[in-house]
Amino acid sequence: MIKIVSASHYLQPVNDDAALTSLESALKDLCREPFRRIDRFIQLALLGSASCAAGRKLRPNCGIYLGSGLGPIGNNIVTQEQLIRDAEIPKPFNFINTLGSSAGFYVARNLGLQGQNFFISRRGASLQAVLSAVMADMLLGFVTQALVGAVEEVALPLGTHRLRQHLPQDILLAEGSHWLLLQSGAGDSRSLDLQRFAEFTALEDFLGSAWQAGDRLCCATSMDNRVADTLRQGFAAGALPDADGAFHDSLEAAWLAAFAAGSEPGNLFLVDGHRQRGWSLFHLGA
């Protein structure tokens, strides 16, 4: 059985091109050493992972599974501008940090971890991608403990950031760093499991039989709206409100981490899928 030992949840709405919230002070308190050459995306990853691991002694072979929809977008823009607009060789620090896995390197170094370290970029489903990977590895015994996170950075100006993602210009954007510490074995903490269904009716039937008063439901942002609405209507009492009305590409991670970090009773079900690909149901136990 996979257990959620701890969780951390950082979601910061960004208003109208105001400067992004400085993370320096929080990182000074959370990190074992001051890091050079890190960008905003790495700062967010360090902040969330260190908060999730705070006060816990992690196993040296604890795995790191980091997902993101947009990845280190700020650094990517700077590097592309150096390369294409300015026709210059990109600065080494910028170039290296365009790799999403740079963030995993710093997270491992900060927490003293030497286990496997994955970065998965998947628009609209980064958490589902990393959860699928880590759960497979844990069930096969490749890892017994893992830090699983999703990080999203905002690159100013906001109008361009919205345009880049094909979002309406009035949508509130947010940055986020959402992490779960998973461990194989028994215990009192919440469990995490994943079930897959070929047919939507099978998913509905399962949810109907498993559902208890006080449970919560969320539908992945990439799901077909009509299908998601059908589910939300069926389980209206438990439909999870959106995260402060703010959007980033890994909102599913925000919902799960906030729920796992909180003290709300009941189960949380996260549904994702498509009629042709089948359906996934992530279940956080009570």
Binding site: P34, R36, E88, K91, P92, F93
Partner: protein
């Protein structure tokens, strides 16, 4: 002709900025070894690349892989000498 002392101050400021070192210019001696663990700044090869690119951008001088130009990265003194030298950029 560029003033050598002014240039050395600029180079120290550039090294601090480019390599994100928490130092003040006066804390970097002119002859301090810049790259490698024996130097007090403990800069590495990635820092060397970062400095080389900044020198190219600011002073138009290219530090390539040859021993002669690589030696320019030994210290602030050698970097200033390299920039002030007549060698073609």
């Amino acid at each position: 002709m560029m003033d050598r002392e002014q240039l050395k101050l600029e180079l120290k400021q550039m090294i601090i900025k480019e390599c994100e070192k928490d130092l003040r210019p006066e804390q970097i001696p002119d002859d301090a070894i810049l790259i490698g663990s024996q130097g007090s700044l403990a800069l590495d090869s990635l820092d060397a690349l970062q400095i080389a690119l900044a020198v190219k951008q600011h002073y138009g001088k290219r530090i390539d892989g040859s021993n002669q130009t690589r030696a320019a990265l030994t210290s602030v003194n050698s970097l200033a000498d390299f920039i002030l030298s007549d060698a073609a950029p």
